[in-house]
Symmetry: C2
């Protein structure tokens, strides 16, 4: 009886697949808009809740963005990097990832990244790289500034990644950089070595020079040296895991839950833990 569409048993998921097929077939491209909610109800013959769930799925996957208001609705989007990174971070959250592993990857990828970027370096790229170095060059004025400089150090590599035409390599390097940026943010209060910053500036300057001369081989060698040096610094500073899910808001938890009251969440200053019902225990049945 239920065999008409045995594929994915949930109708909403089938709708998601169908829309994906539209995208694959080229019927809709980024920037195009899906029919509005009411029309989707008719087209798919599903209820509002189901359609809404399907749209939510597409939104979470980064394939559409939703807007309210007139002319609102679902717009097809090229999946943005941030969204993909978030989902990747979800994956790594449950696995043991440490800085050594990330640097092992960077050691393999970054040299090739810069070498492959050389033919595509523009004057604009060189300007951006120089600006990045300039930001990191002066001695840090306070710990917050030092952290900003560390983040900018990593941004230097992002700029390089942009210049490399290999989309996969680019994504991987940027993802690694983003992981490191977040580990820097999480490391507030950790003592940062001023010598580390200076070493980065020196290394980046050398790399920039090689880029100006369009010397891919030298750029690759310098980058390898740079990563190995940075790896050494970072390993000495701190070796802890970096484990976090990506939240939209980085700030402290804001919602204190009132487990039974059916009243709006309110701001909390001290604790966020509204631990869920311990699995296995039974709560008292609520009255009908």
């Amino acid at each position: 009886m239920r065999e008409t569409t045995s594929r994915s048993r949930k109708v909403g998921d089938q709708m998601v697949e169908q829309i994906k097929r539209w995208i694959i077939a080229g019927h809709v491209k980024p920037g195009d808009r899906l029919p509005k909610e009411a029309e989707l109800l008719d087209i798919f013959g599903l209820s509002k809740g189901t359609v809404r769930e399907a749209l939510k799925s597409l939104e979470v996957q980064g394939l559409v963005t939703m807007r309210t208001g007139p002319d609102g609705g679902a717009t097809i989007a090229a999946v943005p990097f941030d969204r993909t990174f978030q989902l990747l971070q979800n994956f790594f959250f449950f696995r043991e990832v440490d800085l050594a592993q990330i640097y092992e990857l960077r050691r393999l990828l970054e040299p090739e990244l810069v070498a492959g970027a050389v033919p595509h370096i523009t004057e604009e790229t060189l300007r951006l790289l120089e600006a990045s170095i300039d930001f990191c060059a002066p001695a840090a004025q306070g710990p917050a500034h030092a952290l900003d400089q560390r983040a900018e150090d990593l941004h230097f590599h992002d700029i390089l990644a942009e210049a490399n035409p290999n989309e996969v390599l680019r994504f991987m390097c940027q993802a690694l950089n983003e992981m490191l940026v977040r580990s820097v943010r999480l490391a507030r209060g950790v003592q940062h070595d001023a010598a580390f910053g200076r070493a980065n500036v020196v290394a980046h300057r050398k790399i920039l020079e090689a880029l100006r001369e369009r010397d891919a081989t030298r750029a690759r060698a310098l980058m390898l040296e740079h990563i190995i040096e940075a790896e050494d610094y970072v390993k000495r500073l701190r070796g802890e895991y970096l484990r976090s899910l990506v939240l939209e808001s980085d700030g402290p938890p804001t919602i204190a839950l009132t487990p039974a009251g059916r009243q709006k969440a309110k701001t909390a200053t001290e604790a966020d833990d509204a631990p869920p019902a311990p699995s296995g225990t039974r709560r008292k049945p609520r009255p009908t």
Copy 2:
């Protein structure tokens, strides 16, 4: 007035974040169960539809799995590889990725992957690798069998990845392999070179031998050679892009949509295209 929780405007997303915080804080771990739907309504003070959307979001992200029936509900899950790969594939769909780019990455990563795996190779691993080679060794009996052998060639590398303790490297290599497997599947009908399969078997045998002797350096060198050789073969065979969103079902489209009828979708044998309302056009309003 709406400033109590100005973070992410949508309350459903706030609920998702809150549950992520539970996970981060260690209040819930994979295998634990979330309170059932009715309880979540009370806990968060939200309506059913909103809670349902939030759970859908978590499900799409791979953080929970949903089950029906008594004792059903949402179970926290370690995000599985397949889910993450799907989302990664969404990202690359909108970007120009070709086989050359993937092989450039493999050339960098696979040698290190096998070298790093050497200390962790068990007898069981060796057995699995040998079985994989044995499957690919005999001459292919028909084109379907040849494709299966190509997929198994890649599985050889997956087995190696399993033995490497670097989770990030592992993920990247497996993702690359999975992309190639899919490109093989998409390439039905393409002429496959029997010599390619034989060369793979030879290379895999050599690598296996180095692994038995726990010779990381030789394994690395052999792998590099192997990837370069494979890259050559593949480049000559076909250079097309591999572009596809990952669908739950790989089969042909099954749902023909009845745009206005508000009747259940039914199986279609010929065509899937129910192109969405061209953006901008107006459909006739449906009767209330």
